[in-house]
Every structure is written in structure tokens, then in C-alpha cells.
């Protein structure tokens, strides 16, 4: 199912109803209509994550120590 486009009202509801920080209106506005450009906009990130939801990760854990592998010189 394709998620609907994120709206500021959704973010306001999350801010007001869940345990979040007191984000200012202009910060929520920036999330739905970004102007700063530094990083991927939230909507794009969510779209990417929606695509990645379909990737089968099996039983892969979220953490795995780096192996100190000995390899041939």
C-alpha cells in the first residue's frame, strides 16, 4: 500500500499526542516543505523506507560485531 504524502497536521498531531519534543511550527513546516537542502527531505526518506520495507532481511540482526579477520598478505 502506498502511503499518503506526509502532512503538517499529522506531525502536529504526533507532537501534541505522543511523547515528543516541543517542535516549533516552522520546524514541522520545514519537514513537509524543506528549504534548507542539507539532507534528504523527510518525505523522500519515508518513501525510500517504504521501498526498503519490501526487502526480505530474514533473521538478520540489527547488530553484528566487526570480525578481526586474518587474511592472506
Amino acid at each position: 500500500m502506498k502511503a499518503k504524502r506526509l502532512e503538517k497536521a499529522t506531525l502536529e498531531a504526533v507532537r501534541d499526542q505522543l511523547a515528543t519534543f516541543c517542535w516549533r511550527d516552522e520546524e514541522l513546516e520545514e519537514l513537509v516543505a524543506p528549504s534548507r537542502g542539507l539532507i534528504t527531505p523527510l518525505q523522500t526518506l519515508l518513501d525510500d523506507l517504504e521501498r526498503l520495507r519490501r526487502v526480505d532481511l530474514g533473521s538478520l540482526p540489527p547488530e553484528e560485531p566487526l570480525g578481526r579477520r586474518k587474511s592472506a598478505p
Partner: protein, 468 residues
């Protein structure tokens, strides 16, 4: 001579001191005079630790011959990113938020380098709390590029790079969460090393993302980077030779993997030409070049952001509550991204990171190193929010870290070095990626590449002026 030594490799300076050509006090005083002259205009340092530096220099001058002989970085003036604790100097994180943060102890990394003889001369400027790769800082000033003052030094370790590029320090410590050591290093014609995740300790370093943060080095030469890495004794065999050379060709027998997607990646045309030229050079030197399927770099970017922004928010949450008005607006907006991702998003990204690490590990079963452009663009102009490549707009931070961010996700070591000058007079570079904990082999290969005449770029004009 005093002007000339400002631009000598750190290892050469240490050798001069050990040989008695100059004292630690003379060396440090020379750099402090340079800082006094240029810091206001360059914004390289937020805090200059002159008193401590001279005290340590005097102590080293009075140390025994044996102690000096066992200090490979004897007298080396070191810039420390102001995210990393230096006892007695404020750690601001490049922010107004930590105006009262005065650490009593050195970060472990600083302490290790100090025991090797390095002397901290100042706390280097950065993008606020290492959030962005442009290095812009509204409060402490934005560092201009060493090659063109209308362009950004880039970051987030902007001051660390500029300190070395302008001869205010001989080496620098930075942190790298998506490219924050490598990008400013190469954009200013320097070497940037991001070691294997966890190899260089992060105790005493303000975190941005526990999963992705790496402490790294910015130096003038590969040899200097190897010397800094070697200070973390026994954990980084920094001078290991790569696979035995075949015949007289320096890269004979080396297998270099190149991302198969490069031919269709959007990038500056001169950057592409320079990279293709570099590949031809490597092949002529005997390297076997083969295309490899790297994990998707756009997905790596998504994974990186989905991990780092909630982690950054988690660290900054307390300060955000108490001192939220002191944060810059770009960082506040970034932290808000971390708020509205879901817990399952974060865990999915962490699991994808594990898969990407395994995928890159598998590539190393048949190649010795991966070679990529360091960045697809050159240093942007002040105020640039987007890069435009082949008519397509891309957030500037994403463009700058396109080839670097994956290695923070997988934890593999990477080094960048300049490879050519763009027609605009700006440095371009390549990135070499090695196996986990095989920095020695990676740096030895980088050294071979850096020694090729085609890879030598002229220093910035400040350096040329000092040499004339």
C-alpha cells in the same frame, strides 16, 4: 626557514626536533605565531590552547633522549576538532549550547597522541555538532576553502582541514559520521583517514551517531596519517606493504574494485575525467581493475540518515529541552527528522547496515581495495543548498557524501587523497577503501598511488607564498 616548516609533513617536523635542529618550543611558537596572524580571518580555531601547548613543548624539550626517541610525533602541532575533549579547554561542539562545557580530562585519542609527542595547539571549528558537511557555522564563522575563498572548506571537520591547509597545524583530529573527515580533507588538497569503526577510541568525543561516528585524521601526507594511526599501538600496522609487487610495476598484483555504477552516476564532468585518468594510471602501474557491485549508495544514504538522526536526537534531547533556543535552525530541523521516524524504521536501517557490511566484506574476498571518486563535485560556493548535476538537483550534503557515507554504515576503513585540480582550480580526489582492520595495507596502497607524479597537485596559494 620558519615559514617553510609550516608546510612540512608532521613526521619531518618530528624528525627535525629529534635531530636537534629546532626545539619543541621553537616549533610550537612558530605555529602559534601563524595562528595569531590567520585565525581571525580563517575561523580555523574556536579556542587556541597556546599556554598548554607551550607548557607541553617545554616539558618535551626537557625530557630525556630516550623519551624523545620513543615519541614518534615529537612536537607535532595538532589541531583537535572541537567535538573532542582537551583538558582545560572548552568543548563547544561548535555550538552556543555548550557554552559552559569545560572537560577536566583529555579524550582518549588526544591522550594517546600526546603520549606520542603531539602537542594540541587549538580546538578546531566545525559544523554545529558535526551535523552537516558544508562546515557552515553561523556562530563561530565559516571556514573558506584553502584554494578559493569564495567556496566552502566543507565539513563537518572544517577547521581541522583548514588548520592543516593553511599551516596552522601539522595534523588534525576530526570525526567522520558520513564523510566529515574525508570530505573537507580532500576539498582542501589533504589526506583524510577514516579508520575501521572503533579502532580509534571515541571516549571523550561528543557523539552525533554512536553507530556511525569514527574518529579520524587529516594530514598533509599518507605517511603522516600512518604515523598518527600507528600511535594507537598494536592496533594499526600502519606501514604494512600491500600485496607483493609484480616485477617493476608498483601496483603489480593489486586488484582494485571500481563501482560498476560509476559510468551512469551523475557527477561533475571534470571529476569524472580525473577519476578515469586515475584509473588509467593505476592500470599502467600494474593494478588489475575490475567492476564491483557496491551496495546501492542511495540506499546507504537512507540507511545512514535513518540511523543517525534518531541517535543524534537521543543525545541532544536533554539539551534541546533546556537550551533549545541556542541551537542553529538547520540542526533543529535535522533533529526533528529524527523525531518522526519510527522505531521499526531505525531497526530496519540497522539490519540493512549489517547486510551492507556483509556485502562489502564479500567483495574483499576477490579484491584488495575499492577505488571511488572522493566526491562527485568540487567544493561548493558559500550558501549553496543544492548541487545541480546534469540538470538534476541534489541536496548538497548528499552530493558531498555520496561516496563516503556507505563506509560509515559498513565500518570499513577509507582514505582520501587529492588526485588532480579541477579547471576551477579546486582539488578533486580519490577514495581507497580497505578491509576491516587492514589500514596498513590500505595506506601502503594509497602511498603508492600518491607517489605517482600524476597525483601531485599544487598546494594552495598560501603554501606557495610561504615557499617562495
Amino acid at each position: 626557514m620558519t615559514e617553510r616548516i609550516l608546510f612540512e609533513p608532521a613526521t619531518a617536523l618530528a624528525e627535525r626536533v629529534r635531530a636537534g635542529e629546532l626545539s619543541c618550543v621553537e616549533l610550537i611558537s612558530c605555529f602559534l605565531r601563524r595562528i595569531e596572524a590567520l585565525n581571525r580571518s580563517s575561523h580555523a580555531f574556536i579556542t587556541v590552547t597556546a599556554e598548554r601547548a607551550l607548557r607541553e613543548a617545554r616539558a618535551w624539550d626537557q625530557a630525556s633522549v630516550e623519551a624523545k626517541a620513543s615519541a614518534p610525533l615529537l612536537g607535532v602541532p595538532l589541531a583537535v576538532k572541537d567535538l573532542i575533549d582537551v583538558a582545560g579547554a572548552p568543548t563547544t561542539g561548535g555550538s552556543r549550547v555548550l557554552f559552559d562545557n569545560l572537560p577536566a580530562e583529555d579524550a582518549e585519542t588526544v591522550a594517546v597522541l600526546a603520549r606520542s609527542g603531539a602537542i594540541t595547539v587549538g580546538k578546531a571549528n566545525l559544523h554545529e555538532f558535526a551535523y552537516g558537511t558544508t562546515g557552515e557555522n553561523a556562530h563561530f564563522g565559516t571556514c573558506a576553502n584553502a584554494y578559493d575563498t569564495t567556496r566552502l572548506a566543507c565539513g563537518s571537520s572544517s577547521g581541522s582541514a583548514i588548520a592543516v591547509a593553511l599551516g596552522l597545524a601539522a595534523a588534525a583530529l576530526g570525526t567522520d559520521t558520513g564523510g566529515s573527515v574525508r570530505v573537507p580533507a580532500v576539498m582542501n588538497g589533504l589526506v583524510g583517514i577514516k579508520p575501521t569503526y572503533g579502532l580509534v577510541p571515541s571516549t571523550g568525543v561528543l557523539p552525533f551517531s554512536w553507530t556511525l561516528d569514527h574518529v579520524g585524521f587529516i594530514t598533509r601526507t599518507i605517511g603522516d596519517g600512518a604515523a598518527l594511526l600507528a600511535a594507537f599501538s598494536g592496533r594499526a600496522p600502519a606501514t604494512t606493504e600491500p600485496r607483493a609487487a609484480n616485477g617493476s610495476r608498483p601496483l603489480g598484483g593489486i586488484r582494485l574494485g571500481v563501482p560498476a555504477t560509476l559510468s551512469t552516476d551523475r557527477m561533475d564532468h571534470a571529476v569524472r575525467a580525473a577519476f578515469e585518468h586515475a584509473l588509467r594510471q593505476e592500470a599502467q602501474c600494474g593494478a588489475a581493475i575490475e567492476e564491483v557491485a557496491l551496495p546501492d549508495l542511495a540506499i546507504a544514504r537512507t540507511v545512514s540518515l535513518t540511523i543517525q538522526m534518531p541517535e543524534a536526537l537521543s543525545f541532544h534531547g536533554g539539551y534541546l529541552e533546556r537550551r533549545g533556543e541556542l541551537y542553529g535552525p538547520d540542526l533543529r530541523a535535522g533533529l526533528a527528522v529524527g523525531q518522526f521516524l519510527l522505531a521499526e524504521h531505525y531497526l530496519r536501517a540497522k539490519r540493512l547496515a549489517v547486510r551492507m557490511r556483509r556485502d562489502v566484506d564479500r567483495l574483499f574476498e576477490r579484491i584488495d581495495a575499492i577505488l571511488t571518486p572522493a566526491t562527485p563535485i568540487v567544493a561548493p560556493e558559500f550558501g549553496a543548498a543544492h548541487a545541480f548535476l546534469d540538470g538534476v538537483e541534489e541536496p548538497i550534503g548528499n552530493a558531498l557524501t555520496r561516496y563516503t557515507s556507505l563506509l560509515n554504515v559498513t565500518g570499513h576503513p577509507a582514505v582520501v587523497l587529492p588526485s588532480a585540480l579541477h579547471p576551477l582550480g579546486l582539488p578533486m580526489g580519490v577514495q581507497i577503501v580497505g578491509r576491516h582492520f587492514e589500514e596498513g595495507r590500505m595506506l601502503a596502497l594509497a602511498r603508492l598511488i600518491a607517489e605517482e607524479p600524476a597525483f601531485r597537485i599544487p598546494p594552495p596559494s598560501c603554501d606557495r607564498g610561504a615557499e617562495s
